[in-house]
């Protein structure tokens, strides 16, 4: 209760007045509502929830969150399941803010749920660290919700970075210009393919196949048969986790061996490597991490130890980095949420994915194209420290 009143006063009172002795020792309450069940559970349980747990544990083991003045306060967690439903997510966040009176709310997984709770967080004056919320309309959203920060950028950036990478292979390695496209009929998949199609056309690629398939479809043999017949140099599937696995499996069955093979979301999952083992080699996908960074290596090791499996190589480290941003901003300005929003929007933060500085509440520069090289999903395209692409992708081997 004490924490709450202090937080409410924070906007008016100065930071010096409110840092009373008690407030410095009591826990900081952090709440989140996440899809433990329902269709979003697969994504939430890979990318978001484990990183929340890992971060809370790491911070608490270090003595707690550092607040101005040097004291440390433990984190106390309040968590709910939104069952992958917008209405539940809205109500849970309403409850976190107004009933549980938490100091901060961490966001749910997925674009739809992030947007559903966006208005509630905005009304409550809470910072909204939107990570797994990727859409073309982010510039418009940050106008409406100045408290919202988007850590993964826009869909078109992903597609354009991919096309730039392909152009590099064309120039340097003799990659041809025929492309087969497949995309899942969901918001992110469609935005990716629209931007990708336009960028491919601009760059002079020839699209020989352009197909979509329904969300949740795991039977994609006819699609891959068609792709194999078109015999393109490049195959790009803007896919989601279950279909990413299904597409890769089916490509191997059909012995379809384009020189570049790209599947989007889910390629970076450890599950992908576990399922395809040596056949993952050379497969490209969305995301990618700078494996030369000691901080990433440390993060992967800690994640593996605490969660029991390695993190995915796209949104997981960024989710963790968004929490580091929060942590550092709290160390600078304390728990006054209005000051915190200003601090996150204007500061530069040192995180596991490198230095983060928001531009109009968005993180722009980041790796966008990853590739399985050995045990790691390394960054090969976009911004940041990149590894050269392994080209061409080796042909599938018999399992």
């Amino acid at each position: 209760m004490n924490t709450t009143r202090r937080a409410a006063l924070g906007g008016i009172a100065s930071a010096a007045i409110i840092s009373t002795a008690h407030a410095q020792t009591g826990p900081i309450r952090i709440g989140y509502s996440i899809s433990r069940t329902g269709p979003n559970a697969g994504g939430a349980n890979v990318t978001t929830l484990p990183n929340y747990q890992l971060w809370v544990r790491t911070v608490n083991e270090a003595g707690g969150l550092r607040v101005p003045g040097g004291a440390r306060r433990q984190i106390e967690v309040v968590e709910y399941d939104d069952r992958s439903q917008s209405e539940e997510a809205v109500r849970n966040v309403d409850r976190l803010i107004n009933q549980d009176r938490v100091d901060f709310v961490l966001p749910p997984w997925g674009t739809g749920l992030n947007l559903a709770v966006g208005a509630v967080l905005n009304r409550g004056g809470h910072p909204h660290l939107a990570v797994t919320s990727v859409t073309e309309r982010i510039p418009e959203l940050v106008q409406r919700w100045p408290n919202a920060f988007f850590f993964l950028g826009r869909s078109s950036a992903a597609s354009e970075a991919l096309v730039t990478t392909l152009q590099g292979l064309q120039r340097g390695q003799g990659l041809g210009n025929t492309v087969a496209l497949a995309s899942v009929q969901d918001q992110f998949g469609i935005e990716l393919v629209n931007a990708g199609r336009a960028a491919l056309n601009r760059a002079g690629f020839r699209i020989v196949m352009d197909r979509q398939y329904p969300l949740g479809q795991q039977d994609l043999a006819p699609l891959l048969a068609e792709a194999a017949r078109a015999n393109p140099e490049i195959f790009i599937a803007f896919s989601y986790p279950p279909d990413t696995l299904a597409i890769t499996e089916q490509a191997r069955i059909a012995n379809f061996n384009p020189r570049v093979f790209y599947t989007a979301v889910g390629t970076a999952f450890p599950l992908f490597r576990q399922r395809f083992a040596a056949n993952a080699e050379g497969v490209m996908g969305i995301g990618g991490v700078d494996i030369s960074s000691p901080r990433i290596r440390d993060y992967v090791a800690r994640h593996t130890q605490v969660v029991g499996r390695p993190p995915d190589g796209w949104a997981s480290p960024v989710t963790y980095a968004s929490l580091e941003v929060l942590e550092q901003a709290i160390a600078q300005v304390g728990t006054d949420r209005a000051a915190l929003i200003r601090a996150i929007g204007s500061g530069t933060f040192d995180t596991i994915v490198g230095s983060i500085r928001m531009e109009n509440n968005q993180r722009i520069a980041q790796p966008w194209v990853g590739q399985w090289q050995g045990e790691n999903f390394v960054a090969v395209g976009g911004a940041g420290t990149l590894t050269p692409v392994q080209f061409p992708k080796p042909a599938w081997r018999p399992a």
């Binding site: 497949a182 979509q212 329904p214 795991q218 006819p222 696995l245 069955i253 599950l271």
Partner: protein, 291 residues
């Protein structure tokens, strides 16, 4: 040949669909239990196969020999414990339907919750028999082909069991008219329990086989329940061959529309086909108009 690719993948997919629905044909068609937790049992079998394969190194085909009897027993118990009181108190088939919907809806959450506690919510997937088989110059994954083949075998075995044996006759009598079956001395409660448990064994078979190529998590049960319901209703309640035919039709339609119409419309085509068939034959392909 593209057409061979498409038709072949459609038939294989259809077989898998039929396999998924086979258990529900018995549970709903004979035992009259509208089992909304059906898909959760399928997913539970997926997990069982996953654990047996990745931890104990037991391959899914051998896992069938463990999972099917285990599921038979579990489903017998489910029927005895949860369904019998409902059957006893239900004045008519409609009341039992409502009660079984409500009860299995609760069961759905329990099974899903247990799976979540044990396995968490992440995706699971492993690779077994993911090798191409060449048929008429077209490559089909062996694991899928096997699942479809076993579906066909189960359908025929079940058909023979129901049509040619004494026990089958009794089961069919229970399915058609439980009240009259009782009059001719058939222990309807036992046969209904048997049908429900046998359906459970088939659920386990489909879960184990499907896990060889399907990426699943604890929340995906509803996908199987819905597919199975559509197929059972389309084929005609309680009709094993109907379920097989409906599965094959939907699989073929899906592949053909992906190959020749628009791959984005596959599921829409399936639902449209299902609705059209019901409008044409209100009791399903092989169903007889009741009441």
């Amino acid at each position: 040949m593209f057409i061979v690719d498409v038709v072949l993948s459609g038939l294989v997919l259809g077989g898998i669909y039929a396999l998924i629905a086979m258990g529900l044909t018995l549970q709903y068609g004979v035992a009259r239990i509208m089992n909304l937790a059906y898909g959760e049992f399928t997913i539970a079998a997926c997990f069982a196969a996953y654990v047996l394969f990745t931890v104990s190194g037991v391959n899914p085909i051998i896992a069938l020999a463990v999972a099917m009897p285990a599921s038979f027993v579990i489903n017998w118990l489910v029927y005895a414990i949860f369904m019998t009181p409902l059957v006893k108190r239900a004045p008519d088939a409609g009341a039992l339907e409502v009660d079984s919907i409500l009860a299995t809806f609760g069961l759905l959450f329990v099974v899903q919750g247990v799976l979540l506690v044990i396995f968490g919510g992440t995706y699971f997937s492993y690779s077994y028999l993911a090798v191409p088989v060449q048929i008429l110059g077209s490559a089909v994954a062996l694991n899928r082909l096997l699942a479809a083949g076993i579906a066909l075998a189960i359908a025929l075995a079940l058909y023979l069991l129901l049509m040619k044996t004494r026990m089958g006759t009794a089961v069919r009598a229970v399915a058609v008219n439980p009240a009259s079956a009782r009059l001719v001395g058939i222990d309807t409660a036992r046969y209904a329990a048997f049908a429900f448990a046998l359906g459970g064994a088939l659920v386990a078979a489909s879960g184990v086989l499907v896990s060889m190529f399907f990426t699943f998590n604890a929340s995906m049960g509803v996908v199987f329940t819905m597919k199975a319901l559509i197929i059972v209703i389309m084929g005609g309640v309680g009709n094993v061959l109907g379920a097989l035919a409906a599965g094959l039709i939907l699989g073929l339609a899906e592949a053909l529309s992906a190959g020749f119409l628009d791959s984005g419309l596959t599921m829409a085509v399936n639902f449209a086909l299902f609705l059209a068939i019901l409008l044409w034959r209100p009791a399903g392909l092989f169903g007889k108009r009741a009441r």
